[in-house]
Amino acid sequence: MSKTTIGYILSVVTLIVAIWLGLSIGSVKVPISTLWNIGADGIATNIFWKIRMPRVILAGLVGASLAISGAAFQALLKNPLADPYTLGVSSGASVGAVATLFFSISVPFLGMYTLPIFSMIGAFGTMLLVILFAKLVDRSMKMETLILTGIIFSSFLGSVISLMIALTGEELRQIISWLLGSVSMRGWSYIQMALPFIIIGTFLLWLNRRELNAMLFGEERAKHLGVDVKKRKMMILIGGSMLTGSAVAVSGTIGFVGLVVPHMTRLLFGSDNRHVLPLSFINGASLLIICDLVSRTIIAPTELPIGIITAFIGAPVFAFIFFKQRKKGGV
């Protein structure tokens, strides 16, 4: 059995276990049999279908989206420290969301979707600006230029968010909890709203799995190998920001998932993107479901923001990769 076959089997088994645990453990213990037992106890059924199930699915989708876009951005930028956040896409999404809260924007027919849609618009807008600026700086849109531009935009947008938080009165708590990230109490509507974008984004990235392999050797090399670099790069950036945008929109800022999962996947199963992308997708889902489980049980009944758990795991991994790359004399 090849390494990748083992990888898929292990990942899927992990995901199933994670979902099972995520569904059954909590302040109220719900047996997994509720899934197929229609005649089960009414409260358990309610908790299971109205609270646990959407929460686990949303955590899974957000984790999967962040992980696969992280894997794609890392390959594209040839930078193992790249994350959806490096390009400033998530900062853009956050600004969109915080602005919505700060200005109490409410578009009539969007209703409760105003917040997520604005955060996605923020993500897309930022991405377009980042690309436009990078192109102005350097027509061939080199990787370094793009990353630097992302950092510039992240810093600027971060300060905008800080400013808005500083100016906020009683809305402060809501914004901060949103910034720290959470998948609790979102319900099925959020899944409905994010799912189409997640499907399209994932498909766009999956279409470019071989191109990403070529781009690992640099854009020049990829071009020589026959990759239409400009077009493919755009597809990957759009796919990645759709995923990040929709993830941030429904769950706030959850960092490091896009960094930790692809890294672990590569470490265990090799760096061929034809497998890194789907494996990151599956493992990202598992990781976030488990992190969410931990966040709501570790100091129960109080719930920790999920971003704290991911950062707790992610920051040391970030440090480790950084240290290893520096030692290697690499990027």
Partner: protein, 490 residues
Amino acid sequence: MLKVENLSGGYDHQLIVKNVSFQVGKGEMLGILGPNGSGKSTLLKVMSGILHKSNGFVQIDGKLLEDYPSKELAKKMAVLPQLHSHAFSHTVRETVSLGRYPHQSGWFSTWSEEDEAVVQEAMLQMGISRYEHQSLDLLSGGEQQRVFVAQALAQNAQILLLDEPTNHLDIAHQKQLLDTIKTQAIEKGITIVSVFHDINLASLYCDRLLLLEKGEIKALGEPHEVVRKNLIENVYNARVSTSPHPEQPKPQVTILPDVHEKKDYQPITLKNFRVDDELVVFQSAYQLRTWSSAVINPGSGWYRTFVNRRVDALYNIDNVQIEMQEFLTNHGFSETETVGMMTAVYTKDAVIREYAGDFGSVVIMVTAGVGNAVDVSRAHEVEAFPAIGTINTWIIVNGELAEEAFLQAVITATEAKTKALTAESVIDPRTGTIATGTSTDSVLIAATQMGEQIPYAGPITEIGKKIGLGVYECTIEAIKTYKIAKGWNS
């Protein structure tokens, strides 16, 4: 076929490559040469569409480069840029397999048997099959370079653009790589354009060379038209000398260092000679440029010790080289610095004289035995058996001899020797005619390569006159001594 017409381009608005035009035919290998910063790599990048071109065009099979879709272009032309570091690590197999990218299409493109065969062949050709499942990270620079060459080969393109493909490689792998590429050109008709750092490798493997200077073509032609002393010195701004390759009609370049060590170079005199019962030994403190027909270290080279060894008339010459080498080693003569000759004559009878001229001086040593005297004009009439050379002539010049002067010195010395044999009425016993030499004469010309430059050494020159006179006198003297020793009556 690849056609480059009036191509100019470079980085942003700085023109690096200017008005470059050339064509490369099917199966042809073109080498791009030039000093650092002359635009070799830039030319390759502009040609492959990576860098901006401001003027001109590149055509492949009559179609403009920019009219090819990305994948179609990659099927036609594979490019191997200089090696760069990368952050993630593919296995060797994954890396080479990427070369098949342009041949795959559709969302679920499958890996065909042809893909597999091509990848396996490319890995085999580059000698990296055994690293197939290893990570690229774990390979040395040279091995990585070969992986990328294999990747380019896996593209199965008709045109191959290479940027210093022998970078990081040792000579065995340089040879293996270039042999493989050249074989591809010959057998599969692949067109190759390659940037070279090494003029000698380029000259050896390429059909034509393009010499760049400041982004413009300085020379374009076959190796013998481009690898020329003046041209290379001019463009590279380094003192060089050219010489023929020992096996191929391709000129090679050698650097001439401009480092002057302070050494005391005493001119050669009679004091450099030592004669005993068995040997005539010449020893110098420094190496002399030497041309000889000796037994040990014949041909041209730099040597500081010359040995003329007396052997018995019954000496078995079957293993002469091995026996002589052992003899020299046993007597403490350096294997790599000694020229060795043999004679049947008493070494004490060697005639050694010095002749001064306005160019410097010549020291001549002759040992002569005329037992095997031969009239060369009639040698075809009789059968002669190999025997130990009996007239050995050494000519050591204090001066700087040109290449052709060595040859002229040999001619002059031979003529003088023949004249001496005539004067002494040495007869070829088998034909009864005047002999011109013996059956196995040897000659050695050595020069200190210091002092006056001596372009010619024919009889019209001062040195030619001294060689003619000296060899004549010394040979006569030696023959006379020989006759007395043998008890002949003249």
